[in-house]
């Protein structure tokens, strides 16, 4: 399997640092077929004008973010626009100090397409849309691009798209800005284009500022940013994409909000999104959120503390251990099997050898030994995660590469190989995570 060097480097460096790479995931994905199939089934629905909402639930390091990023690359390949954001204390779904808007800004900043997978695709999407309308008009009408008739025909098509958005909530404002962008594109007015993009990114903080620069008295705010996400989804479909997928990770940050009223407001926002997707109020939109079991299931502070969500999301009477319902809104990640971990180490060894340009020396027996050792650690059945195993394995590969005299099997068996130790407070056992007197 040949892997481009820049992708190999991104994969190895990210994994060694304990984070999920944003590119090259198809080269290292193992297992998770059922989960991926379930999520891609949703994608088919979205493509046909539907919407979906899913939670991916798993422990720290169990592969939630990995699955989210894998889905990201799958759907980009299927001509979707993807926007992802990690929640943090400053980025929530709702807040009184712009925390909701901060999430929106992050989502728009990370907007990616197949050919712009690193984010920042908004301007390209808008330019591509106008350019494709021009090409389409030229081939349909046979008019020369220099004639005023051609310009009129293009404008008609542009307004057809914009007009369709008018009926949605805030659609009129959104359409106004699209018109503004189109006019500045045609007039080569880069400055005005940049200002329109600034508005779409939610970067105007006051109405006065927007009024001065754009002549409009509206802006995207903490309260209505999600309405604009819905508008984007419909617009993107009209601009030639299959829809918009939103990925929101680190839901634990809502769980960590100390104020219970603020938490409730955030869960209310999730409820709105959930209801919208299932009641047909959102179109061409998929939302996937990732969180730990605790931040979902805790009835005191988690998502389930909001009764309206708990009663919608909790497993029904027939849900039980070992029987999985992949059509349910909550997808629980099961641990990777030994065999899957072995396949993963084989892939990593191959990528590592290609990246540093050496003949692979580690054998399959060594890898089996390594996996046995990792899973043989005390408490590994409940505590070891792919993240730690991967970090240990890449460390092993790095050491062996730099010290070719080392006998790998002896080295693995010896005590010299130290395991990746987590320093993240989030890895603390749930039972000891917090206590109150």
């Amino acid at each position: 399997m040949k892997i481009p060097k820049r992708i190999a480097s991104a994969v190895i460096n990210s994994l060694k640092g304990g984070v999920v790479p944003r590119i090259g995931l198809p080269y290292i994905t193992v297992g998770r077929e059922t989960e991926i199939d379930a999520l891609l089934h949703d994608v088919d629905i979205i493509q046909d004008g539907g919407a979906s909402f899913r939670f991916i639930v798993g422990r720290y390091g169990s592969g939630k973010s990995f699955l989210l990023q894998t889905i990201r690359s799958h759907v980009m390949d299927r001509n979707f626009v993807v926007a992802d954001a990690d929640l943090s204390p400053e980025r929530r779904l709702q807040g009184s100090k712009g925390q909701g808007l901060a999430t929106y800004k992050e989502l728009i900043r990370n907007m990616s397409t197949k050919t712009r997978p690193d984010g920042g695709a908004l301007t390209l999407i808008l330019d591509r849309w106008i350019s494709s309308v021009q090409t389409e008009t030229a081939s349909e009408s046979g008019l020369s691009p220099d004639t005023p008739e051609f310009e009129k025909a293009v404008e008609k098509k542009i307004y057809d798209v914009i007009g369709a958005l008018n009926e949605l909530v805030h659609g009129f404002d959104f359409a106004k800005l699209l018109t503004l962008y189109y006019r500045s594109y045609i007039n080569n007015d880069e400055e005005m284009k940049a200002k329109a993009v600034k508005w779409f990114r939610g970067e105007y903080s006051t109405k006065t500022e927007a009024k001065q620069e754009l002549g409009i008295n509206i802006l995207i705010s903490d309260d209505d940013w999600y309405e604009y996400i819905k508008l984007f989804a419909v617009f993107l479909k009209k601009a030639g994409y299959n829809g918009l997928i939103i990925l929101i990770d680190e839901l634990v940050n809502i769980y960590k909000v100390p104020n219970s009223i603020t938490r409730q407001y955030n869960y209310e926002k999730i409820l709105t999104m959930y209801n919208d997707t299932l009641q047909g109020k959102a179109k061409y939109l998929g939302i996937i959120m990732g969180g730990t079991p605790q931040c979902i299931e805790d009835t005191r502070r988690g998502v389930y503390s909001y009764e309206a969500l708990r009663s919608r999301l909790a497993e029904g009477r027939f849900g039980r251990e070992g029987v999985r319902d992949m059509l349910a809104p909550v997808i629980r990640l099961t641990p990777l099997t030994y065999e899957e971990m072995l396949v993963l180490t084989e892939k990593l060894a191959d990528i590592h050898a290609q990246l540093f340009g050496y003949e692979q020396v580690i054998t399959q027996e060594d890898m089996i030994k390594f996996i046995q050792l990792e899973f043989g650690r005390i408490g590994s059945d409940s505590h070891i995660t792919p993240r730690e195993v991967i970090r240990d394995f890449i460390e092993l590969l790095d050491i062996v590469y730099q010290n070719p005299q080392i006998n790998i099997s002896e080295f693995i068996a010896s005590d010299e190989m130290s395991h990746a130790s987590s320093v993240d407070e989030s890895d603390v056992d749930e039972e000891f995570a917090e206590f109150e007197l």
Binding site: P4, T115, L124, D127
Partner: protein, 45 residues
Amino acid sequence: MTSVIADSVNEKLFDTFGDTVLLFDGDTPEIIEDYLEELKSIVNI
């Protein structure tokens, strides 16, 4: 628009390379070095 043209080149070459070939961060598109040789062989330079 240069960015639209660069994007369309990336789109056309995506299946061959499994990655974007042109980077477009500033004003001028740049070929990613890893793919330069293969790209040359495709266009016979």
